[in-house]
């Protein structure tokens, strides 16, 4: 069984880089605390946080919302539409779509949030370093990223994940981070390259600020917006990627329940039984929406021009 998602994970995702910025240096704290103050007053943030809280609760305690067993399936009901007690109808195998959508939250949200957090951290740090230091550091990190980017997901999955026997979601998360970081790293690198040419960066450097101070205090808040945008959308695609891997037999081990798996199972029946696709895809859309809103709010909070 995958471990339940704790709110802490979501919190880490919410303010990337917070531990470094908040803990290490005195002056940096004010930037992040400023951001936090403006976040709390932003209705977009409050709505998105409430949705995420709801999703996390569903992920941890699915039995609160659904009393059935997601793997209790009766083929006699295969593809049936909604009926009393089964508001979302049945899927092709005769499983209750509502129960499966509720129970699918755990695996999907864990994979989506943790893989995105991992990718954003790893890719963000490596990309920022490559962009900031340039020269050989850039050459080395960028070329390594190119090689990783070249590994086809299917090949990587069949090679790296087929040897794993763990039944948790973590191998899948690790795999997505391993193959996903180059994209974010290029975005972060490009963003840092632009920002580091700004006058305030030159000014800070002339004043003798250290590299880490410049990176964290001046560049990070201004360079983070594209990373947030890409990461929030990637979250949705990672949830779908898990299904591709599971379909190949190297993702979550059966009888796992996830939105991705249900979406890909429902896809061939789109002409005859679209309801099978609608609900898991809707849940995925809601999750992505919450994180896109959250990303927007965080970005706004970090933008000094708005103050």
């Amino acid at each position: 069984m995958p471990e339940p998602v704790t709110p802490v994970t979501v919190e880490a995702q919410l303010t990337p880089g917070a531990p470094e910025g908040g803990g290490a240096e005195g002056p940096a704290r004010s930037l992040w605390s400023d951001a936090w103050r403006s976040l709390r007053r932003n209705p977009v943030f409050i709505v998105s946080a409430l949705i995420i809280l709801f999703l996390v609760i569903v992920a941890i305690w699915p039995q609160l919302l659904a009393s059935g067993d997601p793997n209790d399936c009766d083929l006699a009901h295969g593809q049936d539409t909604s009926s009393s007690g089964h508001p979302f109808g049945y899927d092709a195998q005769g499983c209750d779509v509502y129960t499966r959508t509720v129970y699918g939250a755990r695996a999907s949200i864990t994979v989506g949030v943790c893989a995105t957090a991992g990718v954003a951290l790893l890719g963000g740090i490596l990309g920022a370093l490559a962009g900031f230091f340039g020269r050989w550091a850039d050459a080395l990190l960028s070329r390594v990223a190119d090689i990783f980017f070249g590994i086809p997901v299917i090949l990587g999955g069949l090679v790296l994940l087929s040897v794993v026997t763990s039944t948790t979601v973590w191998p899948v998360v690790g795999f997505i981070v391993l193959l996903g970081w180059p994209q974010i790293s290029r975005i972060a690198r490009g963003s840092v390259i632009t920002v580091k040419e700004n006058d305030y960066v030159h000014a800070a450097r002339t004043l003798g600020a250290s590299n880490s101070r410049i990176l964290l205090r001046h560049i990070l808040p201004n360079a983070i917006a594209p990373v947030i945008v890409v990461a929030t959308i990637a979250l949705g695609t990672y949830i779908a990627l898990e299904a591709t891997l599971s379909f190949l037999g190297v993702g979550l081990k059966p009888p796992a329940v996830s939105w991705g798996i249900d979406i890909s199972n429902a896809a061939p029946y789109i002409r005859n039984a679209p309801h099978m696709l609608l609900y898991p895809a809707g849940a995925l859309a809601l999750t992505v929406l919450a994180f896109i809103m959250l990303g927007d709010a965080v970005r706004d909070a970090l933008d000094p021009k708005l103050r």
Binding site: C73, A76, G78, L158
Partner: protein
């Protein structure tokens, strides 16, 4: 400079784009020519090196062997052979008809067959169908299990003259002549040996069609072979178009871009009436699907495990799965052969009978009596890359789970690639049942039993072994009277029913849909469209 770069890029993009925009030529439909769905062949198109349906489709069209299976009844009939006779079921005399020629005008002689068979059996040629020649005397010399071959030719083959040759087998096998309609036994023209690469570019034989154009990975054009000695096809040719997805081929047939597809996705079957009217074929084919048990695993070979195996067979609701998942394109199996053999050929639904029928109460009772599933859980292995097996594996598991009253009693175990699946089977890694299927090479009951269930047979993946079964198969093969031979084969099948080393699941039908342009479409018992009989109405 900045401007220069931008204009330059734009100009480059335009220069690159123009030729593409100009090349908007669609392929015109040739009158009288059937356009049919095809897939890339897995191997070079040599007759003895082809074991899958796409390559087989072409071989069927460009070759004629000694015998030909009747497209309606699967009955072996003489084609190039005038007669094949034997007094002792071990030494056969083959007489060819006169007048058969290859597409290049050279004659089909005894030598054409003998050379082709020698080529197929010779180990360094690495032909994957070599083992079909294993009955012929001298096979162990040209294809030893270990080491280098000590002869280049099968000693059992002797050319008498242009129209006569003899075959000596290394054991008695009365049904041997009926094997000879299989594509691996096709004759080969001289050019195959003298200019192998050129032949592979554009393969030709003595069949009703010849390849006129072959764009690898895209399409193959087949037109009438003027030299053909049989009944002339009723159309002007066939264009085989490669499709990477069955659903796309189906959509193209509905939209009139394609005439025939012989792979209809089950999900589309409920849309048939509105898409395609009644231009749909669903006929039995010589394919059976089974779940095979790892009898090499001690836990599955005990007397208790036999009860569990019988319980599992009763726990699978075959009717419901073939209805709901396969939309009646598969039929619940009641023996280990196929209905295309018909009663005369040895098909007998009583052999498995109620042991293959859903009976939830008795199923649970048997499984519990046998101590439950070995290892505590029923794990069904399959390959995930082809064939869409997940759906029915999940359905079987759900059926078993309901019988056992435990939603986690049975799970599927997808394996990423077919090669890995085969490797794990061969090295005996699976500790639970795995997907197994058999598509007949030739329509004989022997083909459904001997290669799959005799000790050490190439497809005996569960490594089941039963001396009584082997003895009955040998006795049947040696029996010069085909009727009593079939009785013996059926007796051997009854041992399968008693021991259940594999559970019959369902017989797979051949399915096809076709467009308004073509008529007289049918599938042969191998689920391949009978192209020669199709007519085109332009």
């Amino acid at each position: 400079m900045r401007l220069g770069l931008r204009t330059g890029a734009l100009a480059a993009a335009l220069v690159l784009a123009v030729p593409w925009l100009a090349s908007c030529g669609a392929t015109a439909t040739e009158s009288g020519v059937v356009r049919a769905k095809w897939g890339d062949p897995q191997n070079p198109l040599e007759p003895a090196n082809t074991n899958e349906v796409n390559g087989g489709k072409v071989l069927d069209m460009i070759f004629r062997g000694l015998k030909l299976y009747n497209p309606d009844t699967a009955e072996p009939e003489y084609a190039v052979a005038k007669s094949i006779s034997s007094d002792d079921a071990q030494n056969f005399k083959v007489t060819l008809k006169d007048g058969w020629k290859f597409a290049d005008g050279t004659k089909v002689t005894s030598q054409s067959f003998v050379d082709a068979w020698n080529y197929a059996a010779y180990l360094p040629n690495a032909q994957i169908g070599a083992d079909f020649f294993g009955y012929i005397d001298g096979y162990d010399k040209v294809h030893p299990d270990k080491g280098k071959p000590t002869a280049k030719k099968l000693s059992g083959l002797k050319v008498v003259d242009d129209t006569h040759f003899t075959v000596k087998l290394n054991q008695k096998f009365s049904l041997f002549p009926d094997m000879l309609g299989y594509a691996a036994f096709s004759p080969l023209p001289k050019k195959f040996f003298t200019d192998h690469d050129a032949w592979l570019e554009k393969p030709f034989g003595n069949g009703p069609y010849e390849v006129t154009d072959y764009e690898r990975g895209g399409r193959m054009k087949l037109r009438l072979n003027d030299q053909y000695n049989g009944t002339k096809p009723r159309n002007k040719g066939v264009d085989l178009l490669v499709y990477t997805d069955d659903n796309t081929a189906y959509t193209d047939v509905v939209a009139g871009q394609l005439d025939v597809t012989d792979a209809v996705p089950a999900e589309q079957l409920s849309n048939l009436h509105k898409d395609i009217d009644n231009r749909y074929i669903n006929t039995p084919a010589g394919i059976i699907q089974t779940l095979m048990f790892p009898m090499y695993d001690k836990e599955w070979a005990t007397a208790d495990a036999l009860k569990v195996r019988r319980g599992i067979s009763l726990a699978i609701n075959r009717e419901q799965i073939t209805d709901k998942i396969f939309q009646k394109t598969r039929i619940p199996a009641k023996d280990w052969t196929s209905p295309v053999l018909r009663d005369e050929g040895g098909y007998n639904p009583d052999i498995c009978g109620d042991r293959c029928e859903y009976n939830p109460k008795k199923a649970k009772q048997l499984i519990d009596e046998g101590g439950g599933f070995p290892g505590g859980r029923l794990v069904l292995s399959y390959n995930a890359d082809t064939g869409n097996h997940k759906q029915w594996i999940d359905a079987i598991c759900n059926s078993v789970n309901r019988v056992m009253g435990n939603s986690k009693a049975c799970v599927g175990n997808p394996v990423g690639t077919f090669a890995d699946f085969r490797t794990q089977i061969q090295s005996g890694k699976f500790s639970g049942p795995f997907r197994s299927g058999w598509q007949m090479d030739y329509p004989l009951i022997q083909n459904f039993l001997q290669p799959v269930y005799t000790t050490g047979a190439p497809s005996n993946d569960g490594k089941w072994s039963d001396k009584r079964f082997d003895a009955l198969i040998n006795k049947a093969n040696a029996d010069p009277d085909p009727k009593s031979a079939i009785k013996d084969f059926q007796d051997s099948e009854r041992i399968l029913a008693e021991q259940l080393p594999a559970i019959p699941l369902w017989y797979q039908n051949g399915t096809a849909v076709y467009g308004t342009r073509v008529h007289d479409v049918k599938l042969n018992p191998f689920s391949v469209p009978v192209f020669e009989e199709m007519t085109v109405n332009d």
